[in-house]
C-alpha cells in the first residue's frame, strides 16, 4: 500500500467514523483520489461518498419527519429513507383523513396502518354516529318548528309551573297575543275564564299524576276580554334524562262546534216536543174528538126516529139539546186544537189592538153561562169597570174561554165562579176563582206543561188536557204569566197577568 492509498483509506475511515458518530453534516473529503491508481479503492471511495449523500439526505428527512413537517418532498430513491417514506406516507394520509373528518366527511376509513387505523376508524365511527344523531335531531327540530309554525291548532309550551315559554303562530292569533313575546310570561291558567279555572287546575293535576295525555274543553280568554271555547290536549314534556320539564298543550277553537252542538240539542228538544205534540194530537183526534161524535150520531139517530114516529116534542127537545151540547163541546175542542196546532207551528202572530177587558170578560161570562146555568152555578164578575188595554184580543179571549170553561167543568152544581180584575201599573191581573173540587199539589205541578194531564169534571165531563197548556203558551206570547192557587177540595183560583203592548 503506497502513501496515497494509505491517505485515501484514512479519509474514508474518517467519513465512516463521522457516519457512525451520528454527525448530521458530513463533508466527505476525498481530495487527491484522482491521483490514486487503485481503481477498486477509487470505486469504494465514490460509493462511500454516495452513501454519505444518502445518509445526509435521509438524516434531514427523518429530522423533518420527527419535527412533524409532513408537507415536504421525501428523498427520491434512497434506501436509507424508504421505511421512513412509508411512515411519512401514512402520516400524510392520516393528516388528510383528519382534515376530511374536520370538514364533516365521515365516509373515509384508514386501512392497514396498524394502531393508527384502528384508532382513527373508531373515531370516524363515533363521529359518524354522532353525526347521524345530530342530523336526526336537526330533522326533528325542523319538523317540530314546521308543525309549530304552520299547525292550524294552537300550541303552547309551558314550564312545570305553567308559565308560558312558547306560543305557536296559531296560538298567538287565537289568543290575540303580540309578536314581541311580552305576553308570554303569564301562566297558562290565567288564560282560562274564571268559571273553567277549576277544570284547568284539574287538567294539570292529572298530568302530574302520570296520565299521559289529558283532554278538556275550556273557555279561553282573549286579549280583548272575549273568550272562545277550546278543545285542549296536554302532555308532559321530558328532558333528555327522562325528567318532566314542562307541558305541551295543543288546542283548537271549537266555539262554532259548541254552538252547533247547542243548536243540535235544541233541535232534538224541539223535535221531541214536536213529537209529543203530534202524539197528543193523534190521541186527542183519536179519542177526545171522536167521543162527542158518538153522542152526535147516536142521539141524531134517535132524534130521527122520534121525529118520524110519535112526535113526542119533549123527547125531541131533549135529544136536540144533547145534540147541541155535544156539538158545542166538539166545536170548543176543535177551536182549542186549531189554536194549539197553530201555536206549535209558530203560525200565531201577536196582533195588539186596543179594547176593553170589561167587555171581553162580560162576553165570556155570557158564553160560560150557557153551561154554568145547567149546573146552577153562579158565574159572576166581581168588579166590572173600564179596563182599557192594548194586546192581542183573540189570545186573551181564548185564555178567558178556557179558564171559565174549566171552572164550570170542575165546579159542582150550585157552586160559584167569580171573575175579578186587578189593575196595576200598565198591567192587569185577571182571576177566575171557583168553589170547585180544587187541585192536588202534585197535579198543580203538571197543569201548565203536561198535555196528557186531564181529570174528569164534576159531571164526568171529559177534557183533552190541552186548555191550560194552551193558556200558558198564549199568555207567554203576550208577555204575561199565569199561575194557580188551590187547596184540594176547596176550589181553585187561576190568575193571569197582562200588560200593555204599546
Amino acid at each position: 500500500m503506497n502513501g496515497n492509498e494509505n491517505d485515501t483509506f484514512s479519509k474514508l475511515i474518517l467519513i465512516i467514523d463521522q457516519i457512525l458518530s451520528g454527525k448530521r453534516k458530513i463533508n466527505p473529503d476525498i481530495s487527491g483520489i484522482e491521483n490514486c491508481e487503485n481503481e477498486k479503492l477509487k470505486e469504494l471511495a465514490e460509493k462511500i461518498v454516495f452513501l454519505t449523500e444518502q445518509y445526509r439526505e435521509s438524516y434531514g428527512f427523518i429530522l423533518d419527519l420527527a419535527a412533524g413537517k409532513l408537507n415536504i418532498d421525501p428523498p427520491h430513491i434512497n434506501a436509507f429513507a424508504n421505511p421512513f417514506k412509508q411512515l411519512h406516507s401514512d402520516l400524510r394520509h392520516l393528516t388528510w383523513q383528519i382534515q376530511e373528518i374536520a370538514n364533516g366527511d365521515y365516509d373515509q376509513c384508514v386501512s392497514f396502518s396498524g394502531d393508527f387505523s384502528e384508532a382513527i376508524n373508531k373515531m370516524i365511527e363515533a363521529l359518524r354516529e354522532r353525526q347521524v344523531l345530530a342530523d336526526r335531531n336537526r330533522e326533528n327540530e325542523y319538523l317540530f318548528r314546521s308543525i309549530f309554525s304552520t299547525s292550524p291548532d294552537g300550541i303552547i309550551i309551558c314550564d312545570l309551573d305553567n308559565h308560558i315559554n312558547n306560543l305557536s303562530n296559531a296560538a298567538r292569533k287565537m289568543l290575540q297575543f303580540t309578536e314581541d313575546g311580552n305576553d308570554d310570561k303569564i301562566r297558562f291558567v290565567d288564560l282560562i275564564i274564571d268559571e273553567d279555572k277549576g277544570k284547568g287546575h284539574w287538567f294539570f293535576e292529572e298530568l302530574h299524576k302520570g296520565t299521559p295525555t289529558v283532554f278538556a274543553e275550556l273557555r279561553m280568554l282573549q286579549k280583548d276580554g272575549n273568550w272562545f271555547w277550546s278543545e285542549q290536549h296536554a302532555s308532559v314534556l321530558f328532558d333528555s334524562n327522562g325528567h318532566p320539564k314542562g307541558h305541551i298543550i295543543i288546542f283548537r277553537d271549537i266555539t262554532e262546534r259548541k254552538a252547533g252542538e247547542e243548536q243540535l240539542l235544541k233541535f232534538a228538544s224541539d223535535l221531541d216536543e214536536s213529537n209529543r205534540t203530534k202524539d197528543k194530537l193523534f190521541s186527542v183526534v183519536a179519542h177526545d174528538l171522536k167521543n162527542p161524535f158518538n153522542a152526535l150520531l147516536g142521539f141524531s139517530d134517535i132524534l130521527l126516529k122520534e121525529a118520524s114516529g110519535n112526535q113526542n116534542i119533549d123527547k125531541i127537545k131533549k135529544y136536540a139539546q144533547i145534540l147541541n151540547d155535544s156539538a158545542k163541546k166538539e166545536f170548543d175542542l176543535l177551536v182549542n186544537l186549531l189554536d194549539w196546532s197553530r201555536l206549535q207551528s209558530d203560525k200565531i202572530v201577536v196582533s195588539p189592538e186596543p179594547f176593553d177587558l170589561n167587555e171581553l170578560i162580560a162576553y165570556n161570562i155570557g158564553i160560560g153561562n150557557t153551561t154554568a146555568l145547567t149546573k146552577n152555578i153562579l158565574l159572576q164578575f166581581a168588579n166590572p169597570g173600564n179596563y182599557p188595554i192594548i194586546t192581542d184580543k183573540a189570545i186573551v179571549n181564548t185564555i178567558l174561554r178556557n179558564l171559565i170553561g174549566n171552572a164550570v167543568k170542575y165546579t159542582p152544581d150550585n157552586g160559584t165562579i167569580t171573575i175579578s180584575i186587578l189593575p196595576g201599573d200598565d198591567t192587569y191581573q185577571i182571576s177566575v176563582a171557583d168553589s170547585g173540587t180544587g187541585i192536588t199539589e202534585e197535579n198543580i205541578k203538571k197543569l201548565f206543561t203536561d198535555t196528557a194531564h186531564s181529570t174528569p169534571g164534576t159531571n164526568n165531563e171529559k177534557g183533552s188536557g190541552l186548555g191550560l197548556v194552551l193558556c200558558k203558551e198564549f199568555v207567554n206570547k203576550v208577555s204575561g204569566d199565569i199561575w194557580v192557587k188551590s187547596v184540594y177540595g176547596q176550589g181553585a183560583t187561576f190568575t193571569f197577568s197582562l200588560k200593555n203592548l204599546k
Binding site: S89, W96, N103
Partner: protein
Amino acid sequence: MEEKDYNFSWDQLGDIDEGRPNLGSKTSVAVYRLMQYTMRAVLEKEYGDEQTRLMLVQAGRLAGREFCRNMLDTSLPLNKFIAQLHDSLLDLEIGVLKVEKSDVENLNFIVTVSEDLDCSGLPIKGVTVCDYDEGFIEGIFSVYTGKKFDVKEVDCWTTGERTCRFSINQIT
C-alpha cells in the same frame, strides 16, 4: 387524452359466476403478473420500451374508464367517490389506496397504492413499472370528473419504495 374507439366492451369479461361456478372470480397475483409481464416482454421486444410503456398506459386508461363506468357510482360527491374507490380497490384486492394530499378546487391529488397488484414485491430495477396503473387512475378520474388528467408514478416498489405514489393533476 382522447378516448380512442377501442374494440372493447365490459361484457367481453363474460359471466364469471356462470363460467367458474367452483373456482370463482379470483386468481393468484402471480398469474396476473405472469400475463402482464410476459405481454410486456413481448411488446418491448416488438415495439421498444417507450412504445410499450405508452401502450400499457393506454390499456390502463381504457380499463380505468370502463371500470369507473361499470363498477363505480359516479353520482357521488368527490369525498364519497374516493371512499368508494378505496373500498373497491380493497375489495378487488388491487391495492390499498391512500390519499396524501388533495386540492379539490384544482383537482390535484397525491395518492399512494400499497401492496399494489402490479409491482409490490418485484425486484428493484431503479425505474417505475406501474404504467398500467397510471392509465387506470387517469381513466377513473377523467370519467368521474369529465376533465383531463396527467397521472405520474413518482415512487414505485421497483425504485426501492415500500409503496407506489402517484401524482394526479388536472390538465388545464
